[in-house]
Symmetry: C2
Subunit: 141 residues, 2 copies
Amino acid sequence: MSPTATVLKDTTQHSNCLAMSDVLNRIGDKWSVMVVGMLSRNGTLRFNELKRNINGVSQRMLTLTLRNLERDGLVTRTVYPEIPPRVEYGLTELGQTLTKPINALWDWSAEHHDEIVEARKAYDVDHSPAPSEPARIAYAR
Amino acid sequence: MSPTATVLKDTTQHSNCLAMSDVLNRIGDKWSVMVVGMLSRNGTLRFNELKRNINGVSQRMLTLTLRNLERDGLVTRTVYPEIPPRVEYGLTELGQTLTKPINALWDWSAEHHDEIVEARKAYDVDHSPAPSEPARIAYAR
DNA sequence: CCGCATCCGGTGGGATACTG
DNA sequence: CAGTATCCCACCGGATGCGG
């Protein structure tokens, strides 16, 4: 066993690994990214404005997402004690810095998504089960 | 660019929304990012090399992660029919383009992770113990 | 060495209903 | 309008064991 081959170049990763995991856990769930995207393009928004414009989010998930983003210092939450109540959300400065890398991802997605779709189709064709046999059914009810 | 007042500026998002969700679902799980990171820094790697160097991944998750990445055209899988068998994984060209936005995220994480940790501490301090604690309120705007 | 199958507990997240 | 609470279940993901 050659001593040079024992360790791979993961030293740079190890120092940032925890941080990266942490950040990924936050922006990993798609709703967070959608919220940040909406707020970065529209400035401050009310709860239902976010809910209406983020396709498919439940009010429960939106609430949780906003709480997490607020807790991480990425989003501000401002309550106006009126009737009916009004709550506005906006990006903090930290949140605004995050939009740059997120937009990079967004651009990449827009540019390469069709390649991914095509790759999947090609993969599924090759790895599809026997012609007369449909895919396995996990939970037949 | 003349946005009407009735609709928020989500037009650009809507077209990319599906693509973004799709991509996020892939790179959202932390193992994918780790794998791409390892492969981008080390070139092609064998299964157990990946397993050993990605902290905490189970072989099941690594297998699934690699399958998904392969299916999406981000990772190549090369089988050498030897005994014992040898399988090497590497990034496709598409996968290599993805490293740029991922690295941007990685850099952001490294730079701002401590701010997030601090924000969480601050949030937890004045949100958990006192039930009669008012959030930040904009009085009489 | 590589990787699939099976079992199984924990949880993410939708649907729904209720408060201030 | 902006949440909170409850139910419930699909799926994630770890542990273990077998097979080429």
